[in-house]
């Protein structure tokens, strides 16, 4: 039994680099990007709005697993494109494209829900559109969308395990490795607990943020 953990713990730590790495990088890039995409989706320019809408539709309408496969393997079949993604780049691209779409829709909903009076008051006070968005609209939107964003963030932790399809070793793969070497199920239980711990920490953190926004009603 001990030898199982002798192998499991170092491999899990290695795997965590991928699990946490994909998680953080995806969030850092997707969140700001999604605000931009949300605004594009709400653009008065019909073409911009439509194209963005199609992108969001595709990313939300197909499984992330499929997107990973397509971005890494599928590009090979498209002759026009002159390059192919490396394994880790493909992961980042797929995750960012996917989560940006989901976040964008959440932000779009949040922005639309803001009372138009806020924008009118800003207009009448002579504030520029950008200043209004950054200082008046966005802070209020963030408070409103935090729960939904939090949900997606928790989902993202679990989605990181999909990197297996490109042969990349996250903590779930570590479990599989050890499990197969020692013919035991225990590594999966261990990694399951790790996921639970990560989720618990994350939930606490997200709740803290939500509470910070409760300084006003």
């Amino acid at each position: 039994m001990m030898k199982v953990f002798d192998m499991l713990i170092p491999m899990t730590i290695e795997g965590m680099r991928i699990t946490i790495g994909v998680f953080l990088l995806t969030l850092i890039i997707s969140l700001p990007l999604s605000i931009i995409i949300a605004k594009l989706r709400m653009s008065k320019n019909k073409i911009v709005s439509k194209v963005t809408g199609i992108y969001i539709y595709i990313m939300r309408g197909t499984p992330l697993l499929l997107q990973l496969m397509f971005i890494f393997f599928g590009f090979h079949y498209i002759p026009v494109i002159g390059f192919a993604f490396g394994r880790y780049q493909a992961i980042l691209v797929a995750f960012v494209l996917n989560y940006t779409a989901y976040f964008a829709e959440i932000f779009r909903g949040g922005i639309n829900a803001i009372d138009i009076g806020q924008i009118e008051a800003s207009t009448v006070l002579g504030l520029s559109k950008r200043f209004t968005f950054m200082k008046v609209i966005l802070p209020q939107v963030l408070k409103n969308v935090m729960p939904s964003i939090g949900n997606e963030v928790i989902t993202l932790v679990k989605d990181t395990s999909l990197v297996y399809i490109l042969g990349v070793a996250d903590i779930l793969k570590a479990a599989k490795s050890v499990s197969n070497t020692y013919s035991t199920f225990i590594p999966y239980i261990f990694v399951g607990i790790i996921y639970l711990i990560i989720t618990a920490v994350l939930t606490r953190f997200l709740n803290n943020i939500e509470n910070k926004f409760n300084y006003y009603r």
Binding site: M69, F72, H76, F85, G167, V168
Partner: protein
């Protein structure tokens, strides 16, 4: 205001990440370069494998990549004077990885089948393995005929599965006419031990490794089996030269006894 400092740092981070990703995209790492030059000039080959497949290619307690296939491949690399890099892949994507040029060999207990022959080139076979039927020691099942109306399971996407379906009427004779599939043999044997499955069909190599780990006395291997198959190395269809070279080296290795050394290291039970 504090916010503008934080924001600009974040923005910078964002930009550098995006730039990093984009610049990385334009050049695949050397490990991923598709084979374009003639084989004679290559000094590095990529061997694709599922690194969780004990005992053919898997991780030991220190996390090192070990296994029968690993040793065999390294022997070939030694004789060619080149480097073999081992790239872990998802097994279900193996042909995709090969054809995309991410790997040069599928080398992982890859059973030679007619179906697969349509997609890849196979080297000459280097190992013969049977599809075993395994029960618990005290099971009343001794013959294939005894498997009628019993609960049978195996690993999904495996040669064992194919072997079962290739026998007309066999799967239909099982309980509910179904052959239960699990993702790995761990779950398959688990089901056997739990008493939910009466008999399992398993690749010999995997089965013996599992049983060795758990204590072979718990199990009974039936005399009859569902046929045998051969393992070969998968190559791209147009890599004919490479394939021939590999076959030649396999012959050498078998003739001079190196193969037997490697074999006895991993399959001493047999």
């Amino acid at each position: 205001m504090k916010l503008s400092n934080k924001k600009s740092i974040l923005l910078l981070l964002l930009l550098s990440l995006i730039i990093g990703v984009l610049s990385g995209c334009t050049s695949k790492t050397s490990a991923e370069t598709p084979v374009e030059e003639p084989n004679a000039e290559k000094t590095t080959y990529i061997v694709g494998l599922d690194d969780t497949f004990a005992p053919m290619g898997f991780r030991d307690e220190k996390g090192n990549l070990v296994g029968f296939d690993v040793d065999l491949a390294n022997e070939v690399a030694k004789r060619w004077g080149v480097t073999f890099e081992f790239q872990p892949i998802e097994w279900t994507m193996k042909e995709n990885e090969l054809n995309a040029g991410n790997i040069d060999f599928i080398w992982n207990g890859y059973s030679i089948t007619d179906e697969r022959k349509e997609k890849v080139n196979f080297s000459s076979p280097y190992l013969e393995v049977s599809q075993l039927l395994v029960t618990l020691t005290d099971s009343p099942i001794n013959l294939i005929a005894d498997m009628k109306d019993k609960v049978v399971s195996t690993q999904g996407e495996s040669s064992a599965l194919e072997a079962a379906y290739s026998q007309p009427g066999l799967v239909e004779s099982f309980k509910n006419g179904e052959l239960i599939e699990f993702p790995t043999y761990n779950e398959v044997f688990n089901d056997l031990e739990a008493g939910r499955s009466d008999v399992v069909i398993a690749d010999e190599v995997l089965a013996r490794y599992y049983m060795k780990n758990k204590g072979a006395e718990k199990y009974k291997v039936l005399e009859e089996d569902l046929g045998s198959e051969e393992y070969g190395v998968g190559l791209r269809k147009d890599d004919t030269e490479l394939c021939e070279k590999l076959n030649a080296t396999f012959s050498e290795i078998k003739k001079d006894g190196t193969f037997d050394e490697i074999y006895s290291k991993w399959f001493s039970e047999n």
